[in-house]
């Protein structure tokens, strides 16, 4: 019996299994589309009320897109781990023998896909509400930026979401832990998006160095997360 038993899934298979599972749950539960997206859009509208000037709005549109993304990310992370915690699935994951790197990558991947959807909607909202301009080259830069930035956010989110998953007061602990860490993402993604939108006459070419920062961030936290997630899950 025991020789049969050790054929548990590889890192890649586990990652795919978890990502597909999380995305399927989201497709059925529709928490992102029915709750998080409307929240993000309301935030965008509220910014417009607070800033109350077309010129200012146009100038700060890239920052607002990413700020709204950041706040919404916190909800998506919380949801991602509420799914595991509500019926003891976390204990089953711990006893499954599935490699923790696979669990990390799977959850991060599902998170990243959801955040990408969120960013696309918010960029469209910025174009409509704040009259941001988007050229063809700008579009390429923006897509690449969105992939790198959401990758970084998803890695950090999964890491700290897993850390605070079982903790009391996790609703307030999560923002305290996550927000300082993702400051480079906010800075990098905002600058890159400014170039993509051509805000203040910044050329598209100036945005690419920021992409380097975002990519380094995503890779660093992706690798670290895959290594460290096991000891966070290992309660």
């Amino acid at each position: 019996m025991s020789e049969r038993r050790h054929a548990f899934a590889s890192v890649r298979a586990t990652a795919r299994l978890i990502a597909v599972k999380d995305l399927r749950i989201e497709r059925r539960g529709r928490v992102l589309t029915n709750q998080v997206l409307p929240f993000a859009l309301i935030v965008m509208v509220m910014f417009a009320f607070a800033l109350d000037s077309d010129a200012v709005l146009e100038r700060v549109a890239p920052g607002l897109v990413w700020l709204a993304t950041l706040f919404s990310t916190l909800f998506v992370i919380a949801r991602s781990f509420a799914v595991e915690g509500s019926d003891g699935a976390l204990d089953q994951l711990r006893t499954s023998g599935a490699p923790s790197a696979g669990i990390f990558l799977g959850k991060a991947l599902a998170l990243m896909v959801q955040l990408l959807v969120l960013v696309v909607v918010l960029v469209v909202a910025a174009v409509v509400l704040y009259r941001a301009d988007l050229s063809w080259q700008g579009g390429v830069l923006l897509v690449t930026t969105a992939v790198a930035a959401t990758g970084g956010l998803a890695a950090v989110g999964t890491l700290y979401g897993g850390l605070s998953a079982g903790a009391k007061g996790r609703e307030t602990l999560l923002p305290l832990l996550v927000l300082p860490v993702v400051a480079p993402v906010l800075i990098g993604a905002t600058r890159a998006t400014e170039s993509a939108f051509g805000t203040n006459g910044i050329a598209v070419g100036e945005g690419w160095p920021w992409l380097g920062l975002l990519a380094v961030f995503a890779v660093l936290f992706g690798v670290t997360g895959a290594i460290a997630f096991g000891s966070l899950l290992d309660e």
Binding site: L159, L163, S164, A167, K168, L173, L176, L177, L179, P180, V181, A183, P184, I187, G188, R191, P209, W210, L213, V216, F217, L220, F221, T224, A228, S231, L232, D234, E235
Partner: protein
Amino acid sequence: MTPTSERNVTGTSFTRGLGIVTVLGIGLLIVLGLFVSPADVNQGESVRIMYAHVPGAWLAYLAFIVTGVSSAAYLWNRTRSLTWDRIAGASAEVGVLFMGISLVTGSLWGRITWGTYWTWDARLTTTAFLFVTYVGYLAVRGLGGSHHQRARRSAVLALLAVLEIPLVHFSVRLWNTLHQEASVAGRGTDVTMDGLMLFSLFLGVIVFTLMYVWLVLHRQRALALQDMVEDFGLDAALAARRAEEVV
């Protein structure tokens, strides 16, 4: 009973000596910093804040380095010991204290010299992020669970912070160089230090480092005591638990 009236719980003759030297040093530092040392040509009297501010900031960074190193020592199997975890925790607590202090003294100094409490200079911004990060670290330490659970969790977090800080610093610096307004942090900072001023600053760093060692030793021992108290409570609780079946 003697233990209840005991005053010096976490002290040894070494820490007592260290404490006396530190207190004397602080006294000397205050006298030198506030009265004896001259005003600076550029900064005027505000340079006196530096004697408290610079050592404080130095200390906070030292403390966070110690936290990182002892967290790694805890995670490394061959040196796994709760002592490392307690040193990490004690050091982070002291670090947060000194970082908070130097943020306040720094902005008081900035108000005099630059006319503003805060500027988005890379060093300042990184410091603020460092402060918030370690406040979060202390919050995670307070989450509860078993001692090793606490240790493992917070050690991973401390190492993540080590990863985070250069990234934050680098991105803020990049952000700042592209910023439209010229950085205010460059102005008014040129100090032509004469011998006494340099000595005061040097003394400050030494005295604060001694104070750091003193604080971490005591805090670390206090943490060890608290852990031991919990374990002693366990013996009584075990006896009570076993007695349940009689009822």
